[in-house]
Amino acid sequence: MEIGFTPAEEAFRDEVRAFLREKLPPRTAAKVLGSKRLTRDDLAEWHALLNARGWLAVGWPADQGGPGWTVMQGFIFDLECALAGAPRVIPFGVKMLGPVLMKYGTEAQKSHYLPRILDGTDWWCQGYSEPGAGSDLASLKTAAVRDGDHYVVNGQKTWTTLAQYADHIFCLVRTDASVKKQEGISFLLIDMRTPGVEVRPIVTLDGEHEVNEVFFTDVRVPVGNLVGPENAGWTVAKYLLTHERTNIAGIGESMQALNWLRRIASRETSNGRSLDRDPLFAARLARVEIDLENMKTTNLRVLATAQRGGAPGAESSMLKIRGTEIRQELTSLTRRALGPYAQPFTPEALDDGFNGEPVGPPDAAPVAAEYFNNRKLSIYGGSNEVQRGIVAKALLRL
């Protein structure tokens, strides 16, 4: 009895590895593995390299430009990418809008937008959350009022990831305020270069600029940019939210984080011996390592079900909860491992071209910042509280 992939899957994995060895720019991989900052160009370059290989649009049907992989192949691909230090593909165009357009878009929308997603002409971001509409997304207020051949959009989105790089945004907007809140929402594509769109950075507690506020003031959007029927946006949004869940547990990222942690723990010393021989730290390390080993198998079990056609529903919530707990614990332990050197904050050391002397251990600079940044994992993508509610209701029928 052996736990492992099928020979075909092993062969596929070798193929992925060969591709990564050949194509993944070492400079980019070094940044990812060292938790350094990526530029817009780094991301665009990797996007183009994947597209050239036909491996960009993993979830798309083969006839639309997808690679035609099984669920398990998608998992292996994500895993190998994470271990090799590939950047994550920015999901908003490829993983989110693409499938939505294929299901709800007009022919004109499909033929215009889908190729431009693949070739990187358009860079999308997602306009969902608002200051008053987080977990309770349906309370959103950004209004789109019909005026001839246009909608006039006014309102504000927030937590818009990488909006500073994007030139397009897909939004949920309110087109009818007189009906039940889910029923008056529409799904609208907006060119961010239209007058009245303003992006303002949100700086997070680690000093990084990853998310934004996006303001809309009398922004005129052609009615042709409506996806699906007017006021059917909630259905579209729900479809999008349930899509693309193969890598929700972040196994590859956690394995990578564990490698990083182990390296630090074997080098740092405590009481004259390496930290990974300190009884309390070794126990913390072993606990999370075992939890991750278990999680790998849990994830493979869910995928095996999906492979056989069983759609993972609430199981995704389990993977999300436990997967993010493990990732948070790993960055928490890495922070602990550094001891006093978790304190220095040298964000300049994360930039391209930094060649100053590091403070403390060579890999210390991003660690505490990443610990704080990773608090987001249990908040975004449906907070872990929301996910626990789903498990209780859908899986446990409480």
Binding site: M1, E2, I3, G4, F5, T6, E9, E10, R13, R17, M72, L79, E80, L83, A84, I251, M255, L258, N259, R262, R263, D276, R277, A282, A283, L285, A286, R287, I290, D291, E293, N294, M295, K296, T297, T298, L300, R301, V302, L303, A304, T305, Q307, R308, G310, A314, E315, M318, I321, R322, E385, R388, G389, V391, A392, K393, L395, L396, R397, L398
Partner: protein, 400 residues
């Protein structure tokens, strides 16, 4: 039962978690037998029987091939893989069966690995001979290598002196496989030998007692017990690897038994939460209890994955196997305590009554942590195994 559990109980081939047909049949047969012949009332009668278990049920299950499923063909069985052991013990756990399976599994595998004669093994598999294993001592706690019992040559015979602690189902055993030192000391692996001790032999003293989970155990005192040469099982002084391998199977068994019992406790708790009304609503509408049950469910799934990893490792290399085994027992111990305590707490007072099966499931789940090494023992062992030279995880590691 949740859909998740039902869908993916086993990992039986590369990336395919569905059970083989044979195992599905075994599970069905045993499940049906237990449902009809071993309900909670029958279990009470079994506990009240002179041996502390039901001779009839034992014979019945042996006849169904349940004992044979624990051993491979070389040993006269027709199973023996980790997932076979798991199939049997998960069903036993679901019905908190008190029959002498654990001792049989350990003793049988030790005897088979030690080249015992086929007749003895056959009689164990057909249920006519009861065997158990006495591998632990009071001062050794959970470390089976810390053996103080001495075996000394006396002519052609061996003379054994020492005491073994909390031996499962000792009183009824016809054969007890005991570990004793023919060399070495302390916790040294070298110098440990195995002996098959027959019931009622001179110098063999048995003190039996009930266990809090409803089964029975006993202290085995050997006071110059004289055994003939044929009683030596396996290589003289070289039994440590046999013991380690048998205990690995034992941990897989206990892990799956715990999964069965935890599943039953979880289901009983969900039922209670759905039906018990306080303040005009089922208590399962409490968001706090919902979130805590979600955690329980996630932990049980993680525990199942740990058990799968251990079961799959049984035939693998020693290092991989022992890491997986300790990871599983640690996980089962940690999760078991959580599940047992949450199940009682959510039931409230009724969950603490002898009358309700739930309380007995809780006791069994917690006591599994006290057999073959607890959470702390196996976490430390996992750490020690790693520090004896495990490489850092590599991309290859996922498939190993």
């Amino acid at each position: 039962m949740s859909g998740f559990l039902a869908l993916l109980p086993f990992w039986t081939a590369a990336m395919d978690f569905t059970p083989t047909d044979e195992r599905r049949m075994l599970a069905d047969t045993l499940g049906r037998y237990l449902a009809t012949e071993y309900d909670f009332e029958a279990r009470k009668r079994a506990m009240a029987a002179p041996d502390g278990f039901s001779r009839a049920a034992w014979a019945g299950m042996a006849e169904l091939g349940v004992v044979g499923a624990l051993f491979d063909e070389a040993a006269g069985g027709f199973g023996g893989a980790g997932f076979d052991v798991g199939t049997v013990f998960e069903a036993l756990g679901r019905s908190i069966v008190v029959e002498p399976f654990l001792g049989t599994l350990l003793a049988g595998r030790l005897l088979a690995a030690g080249g015992a004669d086929g007749e003895l093994l056959a009689s164990i598999i057909d249920g006519s001979t009861l065997a158990t294993a006495a591998l632990f001592e009071a001062d050794g706690r959970y470390d089976a290598m810390r053996v103080a019992m001495r075996a000394e040559r006396s002519g052609e015979d061996w003379v054994l002196t020492g005491t073994k602690a909390v031996v499962p189902m000792l009183e009824a055993a016809d054969v007890v496989v005991v570990s004793a030192r023919t060399g070495g000391q302390g916790a040294a692996e070298a110098g440990i030998s195995l002996f098959a001790v027959r019931r009622g032999a001179p110098g063999v003293e048995v003190r039996g007692y009930g266990l809090i989970d409803g089964a029975r155990g006993g202290e085995l005192r050997l006071d110059g017990a004289r055994l003939d040469a044929s009683c030596l099982v396996g290589p003289e002084g070289g039994a440590a690897p046999l013991i380690e391998a048998a205990l690995a199977a034992g941990v897989v068994a206990l892990s799956y038994e715990a999964l069965g019992a935890m599943g039953a406790a979880r289901d009983a708790t969900l039922d209670y939460l759905r039906t018990r009304v306080q303040f005009g609503a089922p208590i399962g509408k409490s968001q706090v209890l919902q979130h805590r049950m979600a955690t329980v469910e996630i932990e049980i799934e993680q525990a199942r994955s740990a058990a799968i990893n251990a079961a799959a490792s049984l035939d693998g290399d020693r290092h991989t196997r022992e890491r997986a085994v300790s990871a599983a027992k640690y996980t089962i111990g940690r999760v078991g305590t959580l599940v047992a305590e949450e199940a009682i707490q959510m039931h409230g007072g009724i969950g603490m009554t002898w009358e309700l099966p739930l309380s007995h499931y809780a006791k069994r789940i917690v006591m599994i942590d006290h057999q073959l090494g607890d959470e702390d023992y196996h976490l430390q062992r996992y750490i020690d195994l790693g520090q004896r030279g495990s490489p850092a995880i590599t991309p290859q590691d996922l498939a190993s």
